[in-house]
Amino acid sequence: MTALLELVAVLLFATLAAGLLRVWRGPGIADRMLAAQLFGTTGVALLLVLAEVQAAPALRDVALVLALLALLAVLAFVARVWRGTGSVDTEDASDDRD
């Protein structure tokens, strides 16, 4: 059982690292933000699995906080950074259309 949990943890870490490719390539800031959200959720799953493998219950609290912060990050991004004004002349407008 522990071996399986460790295998799952390694697989989750691999997908975590692969998801960072989307942060790197973009092209829009929304794509990067979505990758960050997936990073948060995969990190939550990884922490839950590690809490079981290492018998470290505190990691579950870390996972809880990380899940909350990942939501807040996306909300702040949509509400303050990427507000939908319909304007096309903001600095990142051309970046978003590719």
């Binding site: 399986l4 794509d31 699995v49 079981e52 939501l71």
Partner: protein, 168 residues
């Protein structure tokens, strides 16, 4: 290995598989909207399956409740975030991926043109002109469609036209 452990293993493997597929979708899908689609599946189902795989080995009811709470937060978070990001992208005029043309001969060209018109009517206010020009069905619409069959009002179409942007 007991039966419960077998079920746990299956659930954990399925959850990890959902995360892998969701990440693959995030990397391979062409635009923001489809990436939101891939992402929310990984969030909801992947984390849910992993949480349910871990539940039987939870030491106490409090631990089990905490696991479910983490999943509940992730459910609310991904639903809210996916909706907000997609709506903000639509309002900002991020063009949706209109897809590759249909395979040769599978669709009557006239019908294909009408469908392209319908798509442009739906997205007319948000599709940038250069994207419509580079897309094959957009090309067909510009060459073949009658202006009176075009459902988009001219003002909405001109709104994001970079060619006429400076003249107004």
């Amino acid at each position: 290995m007991t039966a419960i452990e077998l079920v746990q293993g299956l659930l954990l493997a399925a959850g990890a598989g959902f995360f892998a597929v969701g990440t693959l979708g995030l990397l391979r899908f062409p635009d923001v909207y489809s990436r939101v689609h891939a992402l929310t599946k990984a969030d909801n189902l992947g984390l849910g399956l992993i949480v349910f795989g871990l539940l039987p080995s939870a030491a106490s009811p409090a631990t089990a409740v905490k696991l479910l709470l983490v999943w509940g937060i992730a459910l609310v978070a991904s639903a809210t975030a996916g909706y907000l990001v997609a709506r903000a992208a639509h309002r900002r005029g991020v063009a949706p991926w209109t897809g590759t043309p249909d395979p040769q001969g599978s669709v009557d060209p006239k019908n294909r043109g009408r469908r392209a018109n319908a798509a442009h009517g739906l997205w007319a206010a948000s599709v940038p002109d250069r994207l419509a020009r580079s897309h094959p069905s957009g090309e067909a619409r510009r060459d073949g469609a009658r202006p009176d069959t075009d459902p988009a009002p001219a003002s909405a179409k001109r709104r994001f036209d970079p060619d006429t942007e400076g003249e107004r």
